[in-house]
Symmetry: C2
């Protein structure tokens, strides 16, 4: 049995659907919303609706963007001959944060995962190949997540791209900076050993 | 410097303004929103806008409600002669959850707090008095929070109501059920002693 009026009940339920929001937090957020002025509330809901309306996938790299092509693809200072392949839009942001990469991206929007019924045709691999064919690509950097699905996806793409004579690299897997050898799992340590470089 | 498109940036900022939502959670919520269908997004924003539009204060007890008078005030089974005075709408819900109270409520929307510049005229005390004058009230139960402000508010109201010959009670302060004497502060323990009852 609920003690709230229908409108509050509905509002709490809406917030409860969001990830990492439990019932108590949903209640707090709902009452916070009711305390806002009409203007502030509309600003909030409009930011959601506008984002949905304005954001599209970049037709080149499938990054999410207000513009098409996105501000990375359309930046003349970026090196179009190097493509970094990532699984998700958020991975682009993670890469950008390094300030070390000057190429462009290709967002796959997922990884090959037969367990979840996701095959190569369900992610943007075909689009990557079309892009490589039409552009002068010198290097493909595979930056998928170092998990089973990410590794499989990288392997799959490298098998398709290598015969085209394009340099294909995979980002290093190893011990994270600040990490501890003692607490590093065997697979990571094996990868760190394999990936060792001369100093 | 931001790596996101303006619309995403704005959306993340909107979520970040909410209480108990940090930057990381705001990012997660923003991307979750973008993953929703247009229909689901509108359902979410509408639940907010509808709540703002439909919810009003009950003109009798100042509880928040879709209807006026609220479903508690308009319920013929509730005893209108007993008024439980609380600080906040959420306190009504807390009381209702006990299933033990059959009277009506009066929501003050705050407590007297000179430190924060909130005087008796800033909360719904005048409205409570008008209500008592016009209705046949037998008992006022003061259920403000057992903090300095709540106690002061209760004291203030009791001084106004008692001369009218209306029974005025204060909810008991003591050790919470399941609590531990060892870890109970002296003030609570003093109140628990004072409020002892014969068994």
């Amino acid at each position: 049995m609920s003690y709230y009026s229908p409108s509050i009940e509905k509002l709490i339920e809406s917030f409860e659907k969001l990830p990492s929001i439990g019932h108590k937090t949903a209640q707090r957020l709902a009452f916070y919303m009711l305390d806002l002025s009409q203007e502030e509330t509309e600003e909030f809901t409009n930011s959601i609706l506008n984002a949905k309306k304005n954001l599209h996938f970049c037709s080149k790299c499938f990054n999410i963007s207000d513009t098409d092509p996105c501000n990375i693809c359309s930046n003349p200072k970026r090196d179009n001959s190097i493509i970094c392949v990532v699984e998700d839009v958020r991975d682009v942001i993670a890469m950008e944060r390094t300030h070390e990469y000057n190429g462009v991206y290709h967002v796959l929007h997922g990884s090959i995962s037969p367990m979840n019924g996701i095959g190569p045709d369900d992610i943007k691999i075909k689009e990557l190949l079309t892009r490589i064919m039409n552009e002068e690509t010198k290097e493909i950097i595979l930056a998928t997540n170092p998990r089973v699905e990410g590794e499989a996806t990288s392997m799959y793409i490298s098998k398709l791209v290598k015969p085209l004579g394009i340099k294909t690299t995979r980002i290093a897997r190893g011990i994270p900076v600040g990490g501890d050898l003692e607490y590093t799992d065997e697979i990571t340590l094996t990868k760190a050993l394999e990936g060792r470089s001369e100093i």
